[in-house]
Structure formats: C-alpha cells, structure tokens
Symmetry: C2
Subunit: 362 residues, 2 copies
C-alpha cells in the first residue's frame, strides 16, 4: 500500500484555492480543501509568500500532514492578469519567486496549455504557456472519468467552457484572448461581476433607468437578495466595505440608480435584482449559443444529447438554468462524476488530480 499526497494550488487574481489529495493504491482516500480571498491588486509583494504559508498551515499542517510528506505541488496560475503586475510575464515571475520561498522547486509542477505538466525550470522559460491554463487541468482530471463531454466551470469571476474529447480538452483557444474570441471563456461570474458589465439599464416605476457606472453594488448583492448564494458563500469583499447582511445588499443595490434605502422599496429592488439576474443569464446564453455554433461538429458527435458537466460556485444558478433554457438537459456535476467534495475549490482538486494521474498512469 503506497500513500501519495499531492497538493494542488489554483492561484487566481481574487482567490487562491488549495486541495490536498491522498491517494492509496490509485484511489483518493482522503481529501481536503481550503480557499482564501486574496485580491492581488490590494497586496504587496511580500504578502504573497505569507499567503502561501497560510495555505500550508491551513491545509497541510492543520490536517496533520508535514510539508515534506507531500510528493508534489501541482500549480495553476491566473493571477498574472491582475493589474498588480504591469505585464503577465512580470506576474508569473513574481509568483514563481514567492512559490520558491515556500516550496521545494523540484516538487513544483505547472499545467501548460499544451495539456502537460512542466517542471519549475521549464515553466520559467515558457511562462506564457502556463498563464491562465487552469481550465486544462480540470479538463484532464474530468477526462479521466468521462472521455467526451463539455465542462463548464462557473466561478465567482469567470466561466470556462471546455469541449473534452478522448479525455483531453480540444478547445479552439489556448490563451485568454483566443478563448474569449472562441466563446470558451466568459468574464462574468456569480460574485464579483459589476452591474454595468451585465446591463446598462434597470426597470423602475415603469421606466428603463440608465444606471450609474460607480461600483456601488456587485452581482453578489443581487444573488444574495435572490437567495442564489448564502451569506457564507458571499466570500468577496462588498462594494462599500459594509456588511453582507440582506439590509446592506439592498442598500448597495439602491445606489446603482442613485437612490438609498430611505427612498426605494424592497419590492422595487427585488424587481431590479430579478431583472439583472435575467440579463446575466441572457449574456451567458448568448455566449453558450455562440460556443455551440462554433463547435457544431463536436456537438453532433454525441449520439443523443451532448453531456454537460458543470462545476464552480455558480454552476447551479448560472449554468444549469441557462442550459435548460437552451434545451440541454443532460447535465451532471463534476462533484458527482469525480467524487470531489465541493464545487467551489474544484479547480484545485482538478490540478491535484490531473497531476496524480499523469504521474502514475502515463
């Protein structure tokens, strides 16, 4: 009986997610996850290694493991796009420097957009191939369980749509811009999206009101008001740095049309929240339809309906709802397919799991 322990890290611009997987004889026997809201644009350079040390404390030490027991740390980075860095290369190299202060460089492996893991040395030379490749690892992990499907990972900030064939991603785009172009990446999500990024107008008293551009509210306020997320799932900062209570969500939403909770009724705000939600669904629906159009050949290969596997914090209220509107009902969750314990940190499980399988089975 051999135990192998893999730590997976998904270092995003707003959240860093970690998953620790213990494999015994090719089976996951233990798993743990941890998420920290760590917005790079508000941080200084020396806070990055500190954050990584907190990750080690919370997911390794608190679960009674030692760092040197961990066989490998498999990593994906999307934080390089943060405007904490002037260029993506600067971002990647800064994060590499922080990682090497906390982890043994010989144990680190990075997923590349060529569907393979590369070591620290090579990653330093090919930083552009490992930027924003988190969708690759989740796809490879899922591909182990279901060879042909469409993975949709809908998180707090972005939605990845990835066609998987013969167990590997066959996306048309490799980097952010080509993925945006091919409708394989949508820059919207369940928590941090701003309201004007979804709609320029909201209804009030029978009129369409052009809203303010200020970051008065976020989509997390809308989804909290509508009950799509719990207060605990509202993990991002609020727009006004006040509480996440319903009262405060309503107060923030009121400001988008220059009102306050003294002057607008909750029922009017509920109508506005519903309207914004519908607009977000519409936006995703447009992108999904464009995705289907440009991947028609692949979609037609499914005997019956194409299979969609969904994950991420916003999977149910953003994706399942949109797929059903499009008439797709063959939907599974990544959690039920792969047996990982939760959807919020699925990308961290994905990077750990994908690495394990590459290490042991290929």
């Amino acid at each position: 009986m051999i135990n192998q322990i893999i730590l997976g890290l998904d270092i995003g611009g707003a959240n860093t997610k970690a998953a620790l997987l213990q494999f015994t004889d090719n089976q996951i026997t233990k798993s743990f996850s941890y998420i920290e809201y760590f917005p790079f644009w508000e941080k200084t350079l020396n806070e990055i290694p500190k954050m990584l040390k907190r990750i080690v404390l919370n997911i390794v030490k608190k679960n009674n493991y030692k760092l040197n027991e961990i066989e490998a740390i498999s990593i994906t980075i999307t934080a390089e796009l943060s405007d904490a860095f002037q260029t993506k290369k600067e971002g990647i190299l800064t994060i590499f420097a922080a990682l090497s202060k906390v982890f043994d460089t010989s144990k680190m492996f990075f997923i590349s957009n060529n569907n393979e893991f590369i070591n620290f040395e090579r990653a330093n030379l090919e930083s552009s191939s490992i930027a924003a490749a988190n969708w690759v690892s989740t796809s490879l992990f899922l591909g182990r369980f279901i060879p042909n499907c469409i993975l949709i990972d809908a998180g707090s900030n972005t939605i990845d749509i990835i066609p998987i064939k013969h167990s590997v991603p066959i996306a048309n785009g490799k980097d952010d811009i080509s993925r945006l172009m091919n409708h394989e990446l949508i820059y919207t999500g369940g928590l941090r999206a701003t309201i004007p990024s979804i709609t320029h107008f909201v209804p009030y008293k029978g009129s369409d009101i052009r809203i303010s551009f200020e970051k008065f509210a976020l989509i997390s306020d809308v989804h909290r008001i509508l009950g799509n997320i719990t207060e605990k799932e509202y993990t991002n900062d609020t727009a006004d740095h006040r509480l996440k209570s319903l009262e405060n969500c309503y107060a923030r939403l009121a400001r988008i049309i220059c009102m306050d909770i003294d002057s607008i009724k909750r029922e009017d705000l509920n109508l506005i929240a519903n309207f914004i939600y519908e607009k977000q669904i519409e936006l995703i629906l447009d992108e999904l339809r464009a995705f289907v159009d440009s991947h028609r050949g692949f979609i037609n290969e499914f005997e019956d309906e194409p299979l969609f596997v969904i994950t991420g914090l916003s999977a149910e209220f953003l994706i399942r709802k949109t797929l059903k509107k499009l008439g797709y009902n063959n939907i599974k969750t990544l959690e039920e397919v792969t047996n990982i314990p939760d959807s919020i940190t699925s990308s961290a499980f994905g990077i750990a799991g994908a690495f394990y399988y590459q290490l042991n089975n290929e």
Copy 2:
C-alpha cells in the same frame, strides 16, 4: 464702491471644487478657483474638515483674503450619494458637521432644488431638497446672462442637461432618480466612467470580444490615448494606481480583453479606444435624443435653432461632438457667456455667482 466676496463650494463624491468671486459694484472684479480630488469613499470622517481647511488655505489665504472677509459661503453637495454613507441623509448631515467646524454657520447658504438658497438651519431640516442640486445653481447663474437655453454640464462623472426658461431651470426631474428618468442626468463622464458601463464588446482582429468586468481601465485612459484630455486634465486616480503616461494608459486598456502590452499592438489598442469613444458618444446621443423628445414643447419655442450652452471638462469632446451629430450647431460655452475663467470648476463659479445675484438683485 462696495466689495463683496463670495466663496462657492461644490462638494462632489470624487472632487470638491471651489470658486472665490469678488464683486465690485455688481461686477465680478476678481475670481479664483481650486479643485481637489477627494474621493469620499476612501476617506474617514475626520478628513472632511481637513479637506475643507485645505480649500480655505488654497483659495482664500493664498490669494491674500481672510476667511472673515468673506460675506457668504454658498454650497452645493452631491457627495451624499457616495457609499461612504449608508443613506443620503447621513451623508448630508455628516458633511454639515464638517462644514460647521470650518465655517460660521450663519454665513452658509445651500442651493435647494426649488431654485432658492436656504440657510444652515433650514437646510438641516430639508436635507433632501439640497441633495444633488448643483445643477440648479449653475442654471440660475447662467439664466442671468441668457434667459432661454439648454445648459449641458459634462464633467468627469456625470452630465447634466437642464432646460432654462425665463432665467430659471424648468427641469422635469428634481432629484437624481427623476432626473435620470427624464434624461436630464446621465451618469457618464470624461474621466471616471468604467469601460463596461459604456460597452460590453470591443473589436479585436475582426471579432467582437466580450470584455472583462474588472476595473482594469477607465474612460480617462481612452480619452488620454485619443488626445481628448491632457495628462494634467487626467485628475482622477488611475485604475491600477500606476502612472498616467501614455504607455500606462495603453497597458491598462490592454487588460480589458485580458491582454498586456507585450502581446497587443498599439494600433489595435487605438482601434479599441476609438470604438469605446464612439460608443460613449452613442450613449449620450441616445439620451440627448430622448431629452429632446420629452422637452419638445420647450425646444419648439426657440425661433430658430435652440441654444445649447456647454461647460465642464468634457464639454468639447463629449457634448459638442454629439450635438453636431444631432444637427444642432447653435452652441456656446458657459465661459464665453458668463466670463468665468475655466470650465472645470464652473459649478463652483455657478453656486457663488447665483448666490450673489439672489442676494443683491432680488
């Protein structure tokens, strides 16, 4: 010969503007202005009186006046909408408290949305009538020079469109929400507007790319790239807290489609900047057209073409351009009509001038 000195203050959410006017025998004989970028949402309560004291230092003392020589301080407030305050009332009362620490309350007068100035005591009781009434004072001031016209004040954040008849504003809306509804207030401007509040797509390599919702760039970057504003006129904070150089404006704009200046050419970014500018013009054009439709009776009263008087930082590149597209060519600037020295602080001149004329001529 009597000298009367009036200090006008326009306390906005992002900028506080001040104008000092010296009148001699009913004529403006000296004038000074001062603007401070003071974003309320980043400030603590005790910084407000400090900011007001800096205003006094910079516009009163530096110009060799004493505070007790000033006959009146006429004030308009729009900062109450800032999410520094939970409600507008809280905002107004907080700013009142700060004002009373710096100025003699018996000398303070506030413009109300009923076209009159009210004293400190009454303003405390009627805070909602003085919230966001800055457009009233500029209209009353302009009305002294031109009795019938349409004033358009296009600043860094918002655009006011105000019909003036028989020297007084005859707007359909009185507060922010009714003014938004009546197309008399547009929440967009030349500096702080976010890109997704203007367009959800930009062109790149022949595709329409759905952009990121992150505050990676601001419209000030677009207008700086296009030469609509100088670096000195770029008075707001940058989105990434980096420099206002052209290089940095391009870097910020690149991020809206998840790129960086290593990967996208300036000529592609110029196309994107032009597209966003056109979209902002389109947005204003739609609102102006709706304004004209709902004020048709008033517009038709002009013998020939209606007269538009424009002011504010964005008057030329946002408003003159849009009016010409709509076929309106009878355009004057507030500066040429009233002889105030600059357009950026025109609202502060307006509040000071309007108060003087009410005090002396009515």
